[in-house]
Symmetry: C2
């Protein structure tokens, strides 16, 4: 192998693939990146067996070749170099690099052992603009479970019916759902559970590379591929039935309050000084007059009551939430105002944007 | 107690005193702040028995009183409030606070148990501008030991002889010394070892409060007080003899290289990708021609050689250092260039600013 490319391009490619490495000590090659000449470009690949990422970088290839080298060393090394021409060559399994005044050797492992990143046989495909993905991925993943006790809850449920695409997630304490309209009707209905780590990795890559303007999503039976143009991300789908969450979405409400998000967030944060050692419990009293009392108590330490103004319709009432989940929800709501819909203190509350957008964030009450 | 003051002023005072709290669980009152009316102002005090800080805040006092309340809760709570008038009052040992829409109660402990922050009987005093302190404190503390195995090395040695003030610190791997000239001759010679945590706390306070333009330093036998105008910081001095470090300061050098700090730092950082798992060992080869080779090796992983340009006087040579200590030293050197003075690979190297400034940073070599 002998080639040269610009540090900037190489760094971009490595930063795209470099986070998806395995930590399994019994398969050390998974912590490596596959570096390979491929039809006049340099192909970089990494996989942790759940997610695999390929990225192609423009390069001047003088001699074909391939090798795998430790991801962390390669990524950090290339990131530390100036934005000049980087020369790469291979001597046995040692990757030689030079760039301006810097020359390095990195010991690699033969590429033969590197696992294949599978191809996806798509049952359906659709394109989404990066701008839309940057909106809907955080809106959905915010509610996904982090602990693996129920694997299906660590995923985001993708549903396509006609021209409607829904992304939903729930960790059983809160639930978020976003709906968007596709440009055309999909050929078939589909339901798939995508690991939320996959969507977060996709988001990280498109945030890091503004040249990716559109992503082609190819959904297969067990796998999904996101085609980024310069690269792609392939992930397994999560096996198992996503809970039929539709039944817990309240159909009506007895109280509806329109609140300035900034005021609401400040009052919750002030209260959290007291509630952080008390399961973040915060008690809301929504008054017909429009005042909302936000009360946090720390036994033996003290308490705080903050009062904010809102526009209230309906009978008002009291309910307790986990402040952290409330803040997560408010952070996912676009615009300056939020609508909080309540029934009673035993039933979930619903946060919705006031700006027209098909999104809601449901939060289960705490017993107070 | 009944009083009111501006949130901004209260927050400034609390942020000044609030970091100096004790963590001893057998003396829970040390994690509290003493809040006390004092001659028309509000006095805030905190101590961990090693360092004590007092700060006075302008307030409208309606009724005298005093109490201690948990520092973390009070500081975080006041910081979370809007910059409006804060009302404080005391009911039994419960501190009541209100500010705009927020009302809190914080359970306190009677002030009787709060330890007295001692007065200092000064043997000598001198004034230093905050701007100078912001320079010399980091320059000296950078080389102080963090581990407590030899307590005297965790301190900074203050020496005053005539109009010369020296601050020096060493953890036995590196040594830093800064000299400044006082406006007048001191009445007597003095040597004192100040805990570097005390100086860092002083630095934190003056960085956080631009109104503190000058600090009056009063050195006593066992204690030092920094009078900040609006407040003061009292600290014990460290008992024990500071090592006579003067003897390890090289009197001459065989090689002297003038290097651009930015180039040097970049090359060391690039090398650290390899050396971070190898005790950060970096080997410098200074050539008569002016080139400096900076070599880092990670056994079984690989290596890097970066070449930078410099102006070399003398015979040149090789020496190994700990990259981390080298970077710490370079970060403490003002200006764009540094002078590196070497003798041979068994003797310390010296970093000095090229801009006129009485400062040096000595670094012990590693065996390579």
């Amino acid at each position: 192998m002998k080639l040269s490319c610009l540090q900037e391009n190489l760094a971009k490619g490595l930063n795209a693939v470099g986070k998806v490495v395995g930590t399994q000590t019994d398969l050390p090659i998974l912590s490596n990146i596959l570096v390979k000449t491929d039809e006049g470009r340099l192909k970089l690949s990494a996989t942790n067996l759940e997610i695999g990422v390929n990225f192609w970088v423009g390069a001047k290839i003088e001699k074909e070749g391939l090798v795998t080298v430790p991801a962390k060393i390669l990524v950090d090394y290339i990131n530390s170099l100036p934005n000049k021409k980087v020369n790469l060559s291979l001597e046995k399994n040692v990757l030689k690099l030079s760039c301006e005044g810097n020359r390095a050797s990195i010991n690699g492992i033969s590429a033969e052992e590197f696992p294949l990143i599978p191809e996806v046989k798509p049952e359906i495909s659709f394109k989404l603009k990066s701008e839309i993905l940057k909106e809907i991925i955080p809106e959905a993943t915010v509610a996904a479970a982090l602990d693996e006790s129920r694997p299906v809850l660590t995923g985001v449920c993708l549903k396509i019916r006609g021209d409607q695409l829904k992304l939903a997630a729930t960790d059983s304490y809160r639930l978020a759902e976003r709906t968007i309209t596709l440009p055309g009707k999909a050929k078939k209905e589909i339901t798939a559970v995508i690991p939320s780590t996959t969507l977060k990795e996709l988001l990280r890559i498109i945030i890091g590379d503004p040249e990716i303007r559109e992503v082609n999503c190819l959904v297969g039976r067990d796998q999904i591929m996101f085609d980024l143009g310069e690269g792609n991300l392939v992930s397994r789908l999560i096996d198992g039935k996503f809970p039929s969450y539709e039944q817990i979405v309240p159909e009506s409400n007895k109280t509806k309050a329109k609140i300035k998000i900034e005021d609401f967030v400040k009052a919750i944060r002030t209260g959290m000084v007291f509630s952080r050692d008390a399961a973040n419990n915060v008690k809301l009293s929504v008054k017909k007059t429009g005042e909302i009392e936000i009360k946090s108590t720390a036994v033996q330490v003290g308490e705080n009551v903050s009062v904010i103004k809102s526009k209230v319709e309906g009978e008002g009432g009291e309910i307790s939430f986990n402040s952290k989940y409330l803040l997560d929800g408010l952070a996912s709501i676009p615009g300056e105002e939020v609508t909080l819909e309540l029934n009673d203190k035993l039933n979930p509350g619903v946060l919705k944007p006031v700006v027209e957008k098909k999104y809601f964030y449901i939060i289960m009450p705490l017993r107070s």
